[in-house]
Symmetry: C2
Subunit: 383 residues, 2 copies
């Protein structure tokens, strides 16, 4: 049930001394082949970390043999020296594994604006290589945690192959400042064009629809590595669907572990003139602090939801909007309908449905509430 | 120091029984002339309240003799009956003052989605008319308060005339769900074209640059009424500057009284390629929950500020960004500079300066931190 579930991968997670706590903080995932097909999706933030610059460049070749990940420091906003540190890390991994540095991706997560302790990183790479094993995925998942309270793993069976993955992130997508990192593996036989297209589509339908706190990270990275070890040539459409299922599973785990959250909220926008309109409306509601506070307070405040919808340029008539919270249609035609006291918001899972009555398209955005604990974690924890 | 400071205006504020607390909840401001020039700026939210629909229509004539304002209910998302209620309120005021209903603007603030208690409103109008006086502005300011902890008033002397005003709002601009209402008065002699242009420019440089919680109201309204009672024909440019000063004063009062805020934050973006770029960057930082939590925690987290800048499409090079917090340049050229421990964030006023090094334009956006108390007020108070 992890990144080493598909055949052809080894992994490890060790304590290199980057974190002051002594917790695991360095992970390595290695593709043993026979293929080394890969694809990557990165933060669109224009302020992005040195490892993002490096890995994006490396991925242009559509191949990877290894990825090294550290928690305890984001290596973002660290200038030329930060990039040199990423390069040196990749070189060290390449040397230890007897591969090329251009076959090694690097991911970092943690505090922005500080240099990594390179002595610990370089020594740690040796230890991580020594610990590599076909059951090391779970340790790798632990080693990339920052404010995560649990490690995130997934494995899904496709048609004759496996997809596995690990993820970290608790600030969350949109993507979150606490930085989402995801490594996906498969033993399917796919080429780099299929890998790239499948990964983009899977991310579009999963991580891109998670919007916990509207904040976009400098370090977000999703990598896919394919070993071909199953010998099964995957159908592109079927592979994309399997990969999307794996990504959605990890996305839900990120949502469940979001900093300070007490609610997991699915905002479904239906009757939209286009899928883009549905996403725009869902995202606007997901990012509205007043809606999020109301959900924390277990108040089915449809007026705040309508006000958030009204800020968008999506096609709709304000007098034709319907809103349900936990399946109770408390707003019809832009005005009060069923009694709001019928809505039970005591549970952790909340569904919000917004019917735009403007077309046949729909999309779901996942978010969290805005709680005292979110404020506490993000004011007291410098990340 | 209020809406009745300029000559030619009377006002009142009374308890009509709309609020269950028995507090003042109905205000009336009347322009006694000789002129009745007016202009209005309204929320751009596509879901907007019945009184906004009414007042926007009325203002197309560029004239107003009275505005009636109630707290205790927003009359938003109330369908055709809500609009009929607004119309009936304007008719009642018109009848009592022996003017036309098309000369009466209506503003409402409070909970979205519920009908106003029309018996109380209509009886209240009679009481408000009976209480009208040339010193009634302070009562009017009190009667429009919702979660405001203090009434907001202003009066500024122009060249031979006065500008006065009242405001309510604690959720805040961008504009805020708790709904900002502003009534500005002047005894200057101006025509409706000057009034309209001056009001739009003043709002653009004041209320539009306040972004406390990124949430836009269904009811926000800023009205300007000119009586001409001073006999002084105002120079348009000088009048615009005076009006802007009055609006900035009220905007700062709104900022100071924002729900749950512990910090008043001025985000100055300098070196921008355009003023629009500067506003875009400032707004992105102002709306970033992680930045706002860090300021609440008195953490000069420049990495989060850079990450917020990076989400925009403004012109800049990520390696050329400088950031100062309370005048300490903790980030230069996109990386750490002066020691962050030099930044003292214990005070209520915070300045953030972001130098884009991309041009000669600048803008300042004002915002607040994100505190436990903000979450508490907006989860426990149904507005």
């Amino acid at each position: 049930m992890t990144v080493t579930s598909p055949a052809g991968f080894t992994a490890s997670g060790i304590a290199a001394g980057i974190k002051a706590t002594g917790a695991k903080d360095l992970a390595l995932v290695v593709n043993q082949g026979p293929q080394s097909t890969a694809a990557g999706v990165f933060t669109t933030n224009r302020v992005h970390a040195a490892p993002v610059k490096w890995s994006r460049q490396v991925l242009t070749a559509g191949a990877l043999k290894a990825v090294v990940l550290n928690s305890g420091g984001a290596n973002a906003c660290t200038g030329p020296k930060g990039f040199q540190d990423t390069h040196a890390t990749a070189e060290k991994v390449a040397q230890s594994l007897e591969i090329g540095a251009a076959e090694v991706a690097v991911c970092s997560t943690g505090l922005i604006g500080e240099f990594l302790p390179m002595d610990q990183i370089l020594t740690g790479v040796d230890a991580a290589v020594a610990e590599l094993s076909a059951t090391g995925g779970d340790d790798a998942a632990v080693a990339i945690m920052t404010t995560d309270s649990v490690a995130k793993n997934v494995a899904i069976a496709g048609a004759g192959y496996q997809v596995g993955g690990i993820a970290k992130g608790a600030g969350m997508l949109a993507p979150g400042m606490a930085t989402m990192l995801v490594v996906l593996t498969t033993d399917a036989v796919i080429d780099s064009a299929v890998a790239d297209a499948a990964l983009r589509e899977a991310c579009r339908l999963s991580f891109d629809r998670l919007d916990s706190d509207g904040a976009m990270s400098t370090n977000d990275t999703v990598l896919l590595m394919a070993s071909g070890a199953s010998g099964t040539e995957a159908d592109p459409a079927e592979f994309t669907a399997t990969l999307t299922t794996a990504c959605l599973d990890l996305a839900k785990q990120l949502l469940a572990d979001a900093e300070g959250a007490t609610k997991e909220v699915a905002i479904s926008v239906t009757g939209a003139a286009s899928e883009a309109d549905a996403v725009t409306v869902g995202r606007s509601v997901a990012r509205n602090n007043l809606v999020k506070c109301a959900l924390f307070g277990e108040d089915p405040n449809w007026g705040r939801i309508l006000a958030a919808v009204g800020t968008t340029d999506a096609q709709f008539d304000a007098d034709q909007l319907d809103v349900a919270v936990n399946d109770v249609w408390i707003c019809r035609a832009g005005a009060a309908a069923e009694d709001r006291s019928k809505v039970d918001l005591t549970g952790r899972d909340v569904s919000v449905t917004i019917e735009l009555n403007a077309g046949d398209h729909q999309a779901t955005i996942w978010t969290n509430d805005l709680s005292h604990a979110y404020v506490h974690e993000n004011s007291a924890y410098s990340s």
